[in-house]
């Protein structure tokens, strides 16, 4: 009989990624509703004692596989190990991170387990002992509720980073750690050739709390220096519209929208962006939206909490000075 909730964490460069704690916290909530245990599977290299700390977020037991061959994520090495442990655990619910690697891993694991998977969920609940998941479609133009066919286990959901509330960690609570005997495959069909870090520890758009984006109204790549300056003052990431990316002003990884990244920061500042439907799809769920645009009719203003109708080259320098003043006083 299937039982319990199992979360599969993401570990990179010596630390669990934050989304791991978010899914552990969410898993705790679901496990309590089901009245069943919460366990975790932690895969990676040199996790060591950190595994027990998952207990801080309510995990009771961690199945830890710590091996050199799990240093960099590869579906080929990760999926068989996870599938073998799951096979023995027989959980009802599996939660995974909907990070880049997490989504990749979840799809392959679901296929191996023959499980139904809901990707990038923003809300989960238990009804009649079964999972219900809410997730965005059309980059957030709509939401769908997913349910699993009666009695099909496991029910898998990957969770969008930055959405699920993290429990306040209780450092006194440690999880029991078991090291199951599983073989980690060599993995000779795929190889990670190299991992190059982005310059200057750049913040990823999907994980940033504040995003400053520029569009065609920025006029040229050099003017993004203004947005970079503002971003560094606010601890923000810089995004772009497709026009700015297509013009070669910004890297494609910075594109926000239906065919770029879908983001949900606390604050989104759109500078010289008209607000085409594809762009709005990618950022409309931001908590607060500011638009700076000289055209009062620009559609972006229909979504903006605070609108500035002005030439951005006039407004931004003054705004940046005001932000500096704020930062120097508080």
């Amino acid at each position: 009989m299937a039982q319990g909730v199992c979360v599969i964490t993401e570990f990179r460069e010596g630390a669990f990624r934050r989304v791991s704690f978010e899914i552990a916290s969410e898993g705790r909530r679901l496990a309590d509703e089901l009245g069943e245990p919460l366990v975790a599977i932690a895969l990676g290299e040199s996790i060591g004692d950190l595994a027990a700390d998952l207990g801080n977020y309510g995990v009771e037991k961690v199945y830890l596989v710590d091996a050199p061959n799990l240093k960099d994520y590869r579906a080929e090495t990760y999926v068989p190990v996870a599938a073998e442990i799951i096979g023995k655990l027989d959980p009802k619910v599996i939660l995974t991170p909907a990070s880049v690697d997490g989504k990749d891993f979840s799809a392959r694991l679901a296929a191996r387990l023959g499980a139904g998977l809901a990707t990038d969920c923003t809300e989960l609940k238990v009804e009649g002992g079964s999972l219900k998941a809410k997730r965005p479609m059309y980059a957030g133009k709509a939401f769908a509720w997913y349910e699993w066919a009666d009695g099909t286990w496991p029910q898998m959901a990957s969770c969008r980073p930055n959405v699920m509330d993290c429990l306040a960690p209780d450092s006194a609570k440690k999880a029991e750690v078991e090291k199951p005997e599983v073989e980690v495959a060599e993995g000779n069909k795929t190889q990670v050739v190299k991992v190059e870090k982005d310059a200057g520890g750049k913040l990823d758009l999907t994980e940033a709390e504040i995003i400053i984006s520029g569009g065609r109204g920025m006029k040229g790549p050099e003017n993004f220096a203004m947005l970079e300056e503002l971003a560094s003052l606010l601890g923000a990431a810089v995004g772009a519209s497709r026009s700015a990316v297509d013009s070669g002003w910004r890297p494609h990884a910075d594109q926000v929208g239906q065919t770029g990244k879908v983001v949900t920061p606390n604050l989104y500042i759109a500078c010289g962006i008209s607000g085409a439907i594809q762009h709005l799809a990618g950022m409309s769920s931001s908590k607060y939206i500011v638009a700076v645009n000289k055209d009062p009719e620009a559609p972006i203003f229909t979504k903006a909490d605070y609108g500035i109708v002005e030439d951005l080259f006039q407004f931004l320098p003054t705004f940046i000075e005001e932000v500096k003043t704020l930062k120097s006083t508080c």
Partner: protein, 263 residues
């Protein structure tokens, strides 16, 4: 070399989504259909291999008859042939169900590489391609922003949070495409291309042709299904700040700091 591209037809990204009367699907009455943009990048990458390595490019899709138009577009761009699995029995399939149908179709085709989008911009499932790879027992390389083929291996670059990973895999393999329009710059169909496309082979298959039983596919086989859809709360336009530049700048900082509490 044989490359098969998995192509899904999706609503134009311009579409304003409305929910249909059943409350669990979208109203498709006025929709213009397009090739999923990420699949278009996959088509472009396949056609570059056709140019550089003489690859034969096959387009494979599952869906209703209207999908023929998108397959023809890919043929007009330069793909060699198309296969459409068109069977009402596949309706209501979940991602794994779709992958099962596509994997069955692939078994009847020759391929060294399968190219597909990392996600279809309708349901945003992010699953189908990778599931196909698992069902076929071949490696997958996900979210490619570049592709190189050399010595029976495929090498891609994939952006992850804060880094770029170079991943290599042996053939046969499946590659899912990420990146942006600016990266792949997919070619347009030329007028001669459109004329030629009309004569290129396009085969339609049913699930029976693929050796699948009706109970293996569609809604009966689905492990997970959509039971309700909703639209996000309509965002209200907020206020436009008035005054001189300096006043607006000061006021905006105050609002963000004191009212919204986000800076």
């Amino acid at each position: 070399m044989n490359v098969v591209v998995l192509l899904k037809q999706v609503p134009d990204t311009e579409t304003k989504i409305r929910i249909s009367g059943d409350g669990k699907s979208i109203d498709t009455s006025d929709i213009k259909w397009i090739m999923n943009p990420y699949d278009e990048y996959a088509v472009e990458a396949a056609l570059r291999l056709q140019g550089s390595a003489g690859a034969k490019v096959t387009i494979l899709s599952m869906g209703p008859e209207r999908v023929v138009e998108s397959i023809r577009t890919a043929l007009a761009m330069g793909a060699d042939q198309g296969v459409l699995v068109d069977d009402p029995g596949t309706e209501g399939s979940d991602a794994l169900g779709k992958a099962q149908v596509l994997a069955a179709a692939l078994r009847s085709l020759e391929f060294d590489l399968v190219f597909c989008g990392h996600r279809a911009v309708d349901d945003d499932e992010n699953q189908v391609g990778i599931m196909v790879a698992e069902l076929l027992g071949i490696p997958h390389l996900g979210l490619a922003v570049s592709v190189e083929i050399e010595d029976g291996k495929v090498k891609i670059q994939r952006p992850i949070e804060g880094a770029r990973v170079t991943l290599e895999g042996v053939l046969p393999a499946l590659v899912t495409f990420g990146g942006a329009h600016a990266v792949w710059n997919p070619r347009y169909a030329s007028l001669p291309g459109i004329m030629k496309a009309k004569k290129k082979p396009l085969e339609t298959k049913t699930i029976a042709d693929l050796g699948l039983a009706p109970e293996d596919v569609g809604v009966q086989a689905a492990k997970v299904k959509v039971t309700a859809m909703e639209l996000p709360a309509e965002r209200q336009a907020g206020r436009k700040l008035e005054g001189e530049t300096a006043d607006k700048a000061k006021e905006l900082v105050r609002l963000l700091h004191e009212e919204a509490k986000v800076i």
